[in-house]
């Protein structure tokens, strides 16, 4: 049913730390691996070893350069997957009922056997979180690894999303953002977690932690300065060399 639930019992989601993400793309690979080998249609690739490779991914890492008014530019790596929005436009536009938001935990999923691959849900998502799989003809999106987080066959430490489990920098956190006492909610409160494109009115569950303020570099400090300064010695070997060269 593509009407959104009034409210969900929990709001499971991710908190992504833009301060610690090192841009290694490990989460991209582990997400693709887990979601190709497990639930649903595999994430296909087209022409993977040819001249024009492309493929379906549920999580992609962008990199942005931010230039403050003063001081050096900063490079920020920016992982992006479905934000499991509370007011998810992708759910209400779906004509078949394939897209839905779960009442029990707020996860936004696609029932692939109902999807006609019209693509309208991807059009309605501001974040580019949905991709139509070219081989299967159905819409793919982040499942919040619903087949891991409740999976009793996995050891307890693995019952978190694959991307979170994999991240070597600890930049991805998973938990209930509807519970103000949860670790993730605390983290969001402490670090000023933010919404992406709040003006689109989607009310994303996933939050992004902004980069911490950088140390200020003293403008005078220039590590190359000593090497670039003109030679002004008038005594010693360099002084002699200077004069000798002058005379030539």
């Amino acid at each position: 049913m593509t009407q959104l639930p009034e409210q969900t019992e929990r709001k499971l989601g991710l908190v992504i730390d833009l301060d610690t993400c090192v841009g290694c793309h490990a989460c991209v690979i582990s997400c693709k691996g887990w979601n190709t080998e497990n639930y649903g249609a595999p994430l296909s690739d087209q022409d993977p070893y040819g001249a024009d490779p492309s493929g379906t991914f549920l999580n992609r890492v962008h990199s942005y350069e931010v230039q403050p008014e003063a001081g050096p530019a900063q490079l920020i790596h920016f992982p992006k997957s479905c934000l499991h929005c509370e007011d998810a436009p992708c759910v209400t536009v779906c004509p078949t009922g394939a897209s839905y938001k779960r009442v029990e935990d707020g996860i936004v999923l696609v029932n692939e056997s109902d999807c006609i691959g019209c693509g309208l849900c991807a059009w309605s998502c501001p974040y580019g979180a949905r991709e139509l799989d070219a081989a299967a003809g159905v819409m793919k999106k982040c499942t919040l690894c619903v087949d891991r987080i409740y999976n009793d066959n996995l050891p307890e430490e693995d019952r978190i999303p694959s991307c979170v489990r994999t991240c070597p920098a600890g930049a991805r956190h998973f938990g209930d953002l509807g519970d103000p006492d949860s670790d993730v909610s605390q983290l969001v409160a402490e670090r000023g977690g933010m919404d992406l494109m709040p003006e689109q009115g989607t009310k994303p569950v996933n939050k992004y932690l902004p980069p911490r303020p950088k140390d200020t570099l003293n403008d005078e400090t220039n590590i190359l300065a000593p090497l670039l300064a003109p030679v002004e010695q008038t005594d010693g070997f360099l002084g002699w060399l200077d004069k000798a060269l002058e005379k030539l």
């Binding site: 991914f57 530019a73 691959g117």
Partner: protein, 290 residues
């Protein structure tokens, strides 16, 4: 947005087809027998042809029946229901005219309303999308409806109506273009809000997630041919509105009427191509392409 030929064909043909059905349902022209048969056949070829074309862009067209289920929330679902209901009602009404020579005006009026609702629901599929500022305006349904009714009047041979409605559609089209050019900037969504990094400084896309292409770039970040947009707008306006109006004002001749219809059709196709090709989806911001 990617201007998929199937979607352009769909919106153009079904818009005209349902426009013609609208006039036929109201009894303009009031015809029976063979003449009615030919007019209804043209309308159904266009409306049904357009709907069939729209299934070509589905990933799993064999499941299309499921698309009628979510009318409570989905404009696409509502469109499917209106289209099928309209086609069925108008088929019964048309059968009365063609085979029995009798007109059931109430049925025709219901069919006319359903035909217009189909065009309206089509336009709402686009107008509802907040992600595409150019489309997210009340002018989008106004544009689709005015073009559909004007084109329908042209096909139905309602010269005076067609002339007036074409001029109206032309005005709405121009306003829609001018508004649309400002819409993205006015929407308040930009690199700063997309990344949330605007408070630090000016954000620039440094490196895309992949060196290759992907679905998102193909579907949403279409930029080819934008540089010719102004010229194409002029061509579209001349073919869609200008030439047909001139031909309608000229003394009536069957050749002129046919030329007017063809010119209008090509003009609408160009306008629809621009409708998609010029539409900027906010996801382009993440790729630094806006």
């Amino acid at each position: 947005m990617h201007p998929a030929p199937s979607v352009i064909a769909f919106t153009t043909l079904s818009g005209l087809g349902f426009g013609l059905l609208f006039w036929l349902g109201l009894g303009y022209p009031n015809v029976t027998g063979w003449v009615a048969f030919v007019l209804f056949a043209i309308a159904y070829l266009m409306a049904v042809g357009g709907l069939l074309a729209s299934t070509f862009h589905l990933g799993r067209p064999e499941r299309f029946l499921k698309a009628f289920s979510q009318w409570r929330s989905s404009w696409l679902s509502r469109e499917g229901i209106c289209a099928v209901a309209g086609l069925i009602v108008m088929a019964i009404y048309g059968a009365g005219l063609v085979f029995l020579g009798t007109s059931w005006p109430l049925l025709g009026a219901i069919g006319a309303v359903l035909s217009l609702l189909t065009v309206f629901t089509t336009s709402m599929i686009y107008a509802q999308l907040k992600t595409v500022a150019r489309w997210h305006t009340r002018l989008t349904p106004a544009l689709f409806l005015s073009l559909s009714i004007a084109g329908g009047a042209l096909l139905a041979g309602q010269v005076a109506m067609a002339t007036a409605l074409l001029v109206l559609a032309g005005i709405i089209q121009m306003v829609w273009w001018l508004q649309g050019d400002k819409a993205f900037a006015q929407s308040g969504t930009n690199m700063a809000t997309a990344t949330g990094l605007g408070s630090i400084g000016t954000v620039r896309a440094f490196e895309p997630p992949h060196t290759g292409n992907n679905y998102l770039l193909n579907e949403f970040v279409y930029v080819v041919g934008r540089k010719h947009a102004t010229k194409l707008r002029m061509i579209s306006l001349v073919l869609m509105i200008g030439l047909p109006v001139l031909l309608l004002l000229a003394p009536f001749a069957h050749l002129f009427a046919l030329l007017a219809v063809l010119s209008h059709l090509i003009g609408v196709i160009i306008s629809r191509w621009l409708f998609f090709a010029q539409a900027e989806h906010v996801v382009g911001l993440y790729y630094g392409k806006r």
